[in-house]
Symmetry: C2
């Protein structure tokens, strides 16, 4: 049973041990069909018994590919990106790839730096989570071997969230109950996706449903939402739609203080904490996990053949 050898075994050792040439061992390793079954069996046997492990570095140097993919998240502690990363890992592990994860911290310079490192490591591909102001040109060197998540771009394949859809979904949920006084709390429209697009979606629905828009935007923090709540709240307010669960949490807290248990709050993110803390809330699930899986699948496809640039949009849904 796989003994622990003190010395690192090389392909040559295995060859001797099995009484064959090293290239035969190599062929077994690379699934090359041109090996006599008996010989293959013999070699496989020896490899297993000796606990031989081919050197990834050597393989990678020879073949030019390392079976590693780089993942660039904006923040390690972003719950949404965490979920997506889970999806990514599941897919790439299954495909026998490894991942190196790095943190861009919403900063193009950091991103550039990390991309450079990943290039040195000659990773086979990268998956990058976009952020406000993200400069896609950074990925030029990974042209056909990159997928970005949550950002608008043409130059590289992408998986984006349905920003319009998720807000529309929340709004529909409310208007279908006959609500006409629905306010909105979001983030600065300077952030195109979380800010602009979601606000636009709110305004669109308002126009269609003849709802008087009432909204404020600020930072992506509990405090910001907490503070802004009063500004969008009137006696008739029936619900407040928020661009994210973080905001929803701040709003819900303020409402609780004001004893406005009549006001329904919605967020985006499907955080379990929100529902636990405040029963009178619901949250749209942007499908982070699935998006991660999609992105990984897409990348693997790119790596296999020269797939063309593709843009996927992840559908949102309401958690059960």
């Amino acid at each position: 049973m796989t003994q622990k050898p003190s010395q690192k075994l090389t392909i040559l050792d295995i060859a001797k041990l099995a009484g064959v040439g090293k290239s035969t061992v190599s062929r077994v390793l690379t699934q090359d069909p041109r090996v006599k079954p008996a010989t293959r069996e013999k070699v496989t046997q020896v490899i297993r018994e000796s606990g031989y492990v081919p050197s990834k570095s050597a393989q990678s140097m020879r073949g030019g590919n390392s079976r590693v993919i780089g993942i660039l998240v904006s923040r390690l502690d972003s719950p949404s990106e965490n979920k997506a990363v889970r999806g990514i890992l599941e897919v790439i592990y299954a495909a026998d790839y490894d991942a190196v994860i790095m943190e861009s911290q919403f900063c193009n310079d950091k991103t550039r730096e990390h991309i450079a490192v990943l290039e040195k490591r000659n990773v086979d591909g990268v998956i990058v989570f976009g952020f406000s102001g993200f400069d896609c040109a950074i990925l030029d060197s990974f042209a056909q071997r990159a997928v970005v998540i949550a950002v608008d771009t043409d130059s590289v394949s992408s998986v984006s969230y349905d920003n319009k859809g998720m807000i529309t979904l929340a709004m529909d949920q409310l208007t279908s109950k006959g609500m006409k006084h629905v306010s909105y709390i979001g983030v600065d429209p300077a952030d195109r996706t979380t800010g602009q697009l979601r606000l636009d979606a709110y305004l669109d629905v308002c126009a269609q449903q003849h709802i008087e828009p009432c909204y404020r935007t600020g930072e992506l923090s509990y405090d910001s939402a907490y503070t802004l709540t009063d500004a969008v709240l009137s006696a008739q307010t029936q619900a407040i739609v928020c661009a994210s669960d973080t905001l929803a949490m701040g709003v819900a807290k303020r409402l609780q203080e004001l004893n406005r248990t009549d006001v329904l709050v919605s967020g985006v993110g499907a955080t379990d904490l929100l529902r636990f803390m405040f029963p009178n809330t619901f949250s749209v699930d942007p499908g982070y996990f699935d998006a991660g899986q999609c992105a990984a699948d897409l990348l693997l496809q790119h790596l296999r053949q020269d797939a063309k640039i593709t843009h996927l949009v992840q559908r949102s849904c309401l958690p059960v």
Copy 2:
């Protein structure tokens, strides 16, 4: 300005371009002092201008070390481990190492699997976050090149949290205000660190301060704590100490429902959300970030010299 060459440049190209031998280029790359400053300058210049990037795979193959360290977290979305990982990354990036992060999901088998992969990749070292029931023997192959976090062990260097200290700290904070009716909500003592040790600390303080112990243990979830709250609550209860912020959140919520604004709640984790949601709470900071830094420092030390097995305990503190 760093042109993008279509062909991958090798060290030989640089040598020719700079009019020197390849080993001189290599010496510049490896910071070898035995190079005339003028020559070094010249080579550096060429490297910059050509945009040459040494192949990590080749370097790693030649040197036997990959300048990669593996990080095995229990869960990617654990806020505490996230903080620690941040600390780790900061340190290892500064030392020009990369990280591959994997998820053990509290499972020894998964851990074993990942460790095997990391071994194949011949990473230089690993940092592993322990979990309840973690089998340290898995790390045998990384003997002197591993550091574990948050787990009791002798066989390998470790950084652990001061489980006793953090609860004592919370208790002191309360008893110093003269409180005598302090309850405790924790997790199953089957979990040695978060369960057993923290509960013991509570009981110790109780004994010393002549406090009548009143506690319950359950799962590490909001719901569990929420449900257990009533069982440790009486009319005289002045405070409830919790083994973690997650629990504290559940307890605080229940107290809010009961209108027991008089009861102070404490948690462990220094989560900003807890304080935001419930003003009448405080949280002990186990020093996750620092622990991560320590662990990384410790590992780097091991990698440099053959440092001996060391066990550090991270001190807790109260956030300002």
